[in-house]
Amino acid sequence: MLEEIFVVNRLVLFVLTILVAVVLLVTIRQAKKGKKFFIRRIAGLEAIDEAVGRATEMGRPVHFSPGIAALSEETAAQTLAGLAVLGYVARLTARYDTDLIVTNRMPEVLPITEEVVRQSYLAEGKPESYNPDNILFLSDEQFAYAAGCMGIMAREKVAANIMMGAFWAESLIFAEGGFIAGSIQVAGTANTHQLPFFIAACDYCLIGEELFAAGAYLSQEPMQVAGIKVQDWGKLVAAVLILIGTITTTCKWPVIIDFFSRYAS
């Protein structure tokens, strides 16, 4: 009976997909209705506080880059998370009256960064301190943008260099520029192949999903928060399955593994 309707070896996957879909839809609805879901504060945000604090002490500016991705690609999610972090950084610099320089590679991202920074200064009650001349469009060529950033970091003696978003090969050039300028560097990206370079050259690094979680934590946007929650439940299920599986395997009790190899392969 079952065989005639379902692809039997994917039965568990089918149930799983339905579950994820239903839970996601319900969670988004609840979040939209105003239900608060708990997301812990990411440790990396403390590192940002510290970096901005040091820049304030030294009386030198903070540099922020939202990555080099456009808003129309898969990597847009990283840029959006980066912009949420930018809002946080801008509030800090507004509060402490520290200069904030934001550089952009994508022309389409420029107006959004301007708006984010302006709103943050407004929220801190300091609209007069907002300086639009410090929100820069450097170049839409990847390496020209990187070279431009390196120049700014050296000239302006940037004390804190914060990079949050999607980065590719230019991450090397950035990190080196910030290091030579002697800045505290905090980075975050979900492009795993670039993470090693950020970790080796920065003081703190948000790894992969941490960037999205930080974005959701700061923006409290229902769709983002619900997404993080559903993924968390998924991870919980994965962890519990792994625990049960390894223990039963060690005890040589194959029932559970057999079940999964029959209905989920």
């Binding site: 997909t17 994820v20 290091f179 370079f197 080796a200 992969g208 559903v230």
Partner: protein, 206 residues
């Protein structure tokens, strides 16, 4: 209509392909899914031309307006047309196309990315520091793997290839698997949001 129709199409095609994977739907699975796949290849081919259309627009403007270094835009367009027209007329096995590909394109593309080797060398010397415990562990693992993967490692110490294999089989695989499970959930959530029309960012703003 302008919003609903595209979203409805996304929903229907998405649900059809999802169900097709799990349930044996008579007629649909055998016939419609196959057709949809064939169609998608053709539409993807049209999408491939979009990038070129964009380039064409930008660079024609730059030439017409006589912008700084407009001749580079001209070179770009000429190169684009030659590389497209020659194989369209005489296939990719044509001698001219092969010549251009082999002697121009391959070197431009290859060299562009080999610049990264120099950047890595420079960053290795100036920026990769054991500032944090994390960076220290990372750099030690990196050194073992670099030595383990090339013959020089084994020539220095027999243990390098073995320990490199150990690091990769146990730790790298475990770490990457954890990341992969998390990223898969992320990809599922994103795709479901798109199919259900909750995330419409791919329509480009509006």
């Amino acid at each position: 209509m302008r919003r609903e129709l595209p979203i409805a199409i996304t929903f229907v095609s998405g649900i059809l392909f999802l169900l097709d994977y799990f349930v044996k739907i008579p007629y649909l699975s055998e016939y419609v899914v196959g057709h949809f796949l064939d169609w998608a290849i053709v539409v993807a081919a049209f999408a491939l031309l979009l990038g070129a259309a964009n380039l064409l627009r930008i660079h024609v403007q730059r030439i017409v307006k006589g912008k700084k270094e407009w001749w580079n835009s001209l070179i770009l367009l000429v190169a684009m047309f030659v590389m497209a027209i020659v194989p369209i007329i005489w296939t990719q096995q044509n001698a001219v196309y092969e010549y251009l590909f082999k002697h121009f394109f391959e070197h431009l593309n290859g060299t562009m990315f080999s610049l990264l080797a120099f950047y890595i060398a420079s960053a290795a010397y100036r920026a990769f520091r054991i500032r944090t415990k994390e960076a220290t562990v990372l750099l030690i693992a990196a050194v073992v793997v670099m030595l383990g993967a090339t013959p020089i490692g084994a020539a220095i110490w027999k243990g390098f290839p073995q320990y490199s294999d150990w690091l990769q089989t146990v730790f790298t695989t475990a770490g990457m698997r954890g990341i992969m499970i998390g990223a898969s959930l992320g990809a599922m959530v994103t795709a479901l949001r798109i199919i259900f029309g909750i995330d419409r960012s791919y329509f480009g703003g509006q």
